[in-house]
Symmetry: C2
Subunit: 178 residues, 2 copies
DNA sequence: TACTGCATGTAAGTCGTTACATGATTTG
DNA sequence: CAAATCATGTAACGACTTACATGCAGTA
């Protein structure tokens, strides 16, 4: 059992999913290519942590369900120590060397980042709207954790956008002084 | 040349560093174990992108400098397309399944996260103070990119702390309703 | 009917983690 | 003078990326 396997099992607590869906849900706080997800799901199935149901209409679809054994192992994992988050951000490495770049390059980098963050923000706001529209209290409760995580993402996107704005102003000031 | 190699070269733009220092500077936006850093530096040296100077007092220390060739390749890399940031955060996977956890577990997770973020915030505020204390304009200019990146980290830490606070309130409300 | 998105899978090669290994320097 | 931190390195193993490969479903 590696970390990705536990993450996949966590995703299945809320509802049964296909591998394809898992990849998308995961994106809120994890990264994995489909090749990795499908091989991990195959292992989890072999070891009995998940079960598969074949969709009748879409015969190619495999809907994975969490088994009792799977839920137990998730519960144990949650009690274990939580590893610190890891991040890799090329953009910040480029910003780090701003002093050897020209104004247009730095501004271009910041512009692209802003576009990316705006896109992310919009996507997450849509996800939130979907949760807000749930009327069934049971469904709403099942989505509580997801709701918290999406809210966090939205807040951080907004803060990053404010930082981009501020950074642009700093760049302007620096090149004015030169 | 992989991404880590470019990141290392970027770090050396500001000032010559040892592998040990690089690991610490990197932490602002990248993660790498020392084993990876030392082997990458050895490759960069062999290919002439960096040069080594041995510290006279501390003979075990190897201070890496960026060569002209290294600076050129960094400049080319910066013009290339920037890969999107990647993140891996176990904590959020655990929060995601909040609905099957008890109140104390969720609150405990949030508490630990808060402690971690407070530590990070403090560390970065110290880094900022160091930059603020620079008086030489040239030194200050060289640290411009670093300044931007540290500011971003501080802002995001603060936002995450606000989110933790908010999330605790949400948890209280949920368990009140139950 | 062509194109985009949905959906799954395998294999080779690269990257990253963990463990092993050593030794100097600083601080209480 | 013991412990923590600084400082560097190698090797084995596991995780991740990239490329190859296939086919269905919806829509313009």
């Amino acid at each position: 059992m590696n970390t990705l396997s536990y993450i996949l099992l966590c995703m299945l607590v809320r509802k049964p999913c296909t591998g394809y869906e898992l990849k998308q849900y995961l994106a809120l706080f994890w990264e994995a290519h489909h090749s990795q997800i499908y091989t991990s799901l195959a292992k989890l199935l072999k070891e009995g942590y998940v079960s598969v149901e074949n969709d009748e209409k879409h015969t190619q679809k495999k809907i994975y369900h969490l088994t009792k054994k799977g839920e137990n192992i998730v519960n144990n994992w949650i009690q274990e120590e939580t590893k610190e988050p890891s991040q890799k951000d090329e953009f910040l490495a480029k910003i780090y060397v701003a002093s050897i770049l020209d104004k247009d390059t730095v501004k271009g980098l910041l512009f692209e980042r802003k576009q990316h963050q705006l896109k992310l923000l919009k996507q997450n706001q849509e996800k939130q709207t979907q949760i807000d529209q749930l009327t069934d209290p049971k469904e709403k409760q099942k989505n509580f954790g997801r709701f918290l995580v999406i809210q966090r993402k939205i807040r951080i996107c907004e803060e990053e956008l404010r930082w981009c704005q501020w950074a642009e102003e700093q760049v302007d000031q620096l090149f004015l002084a030169k």
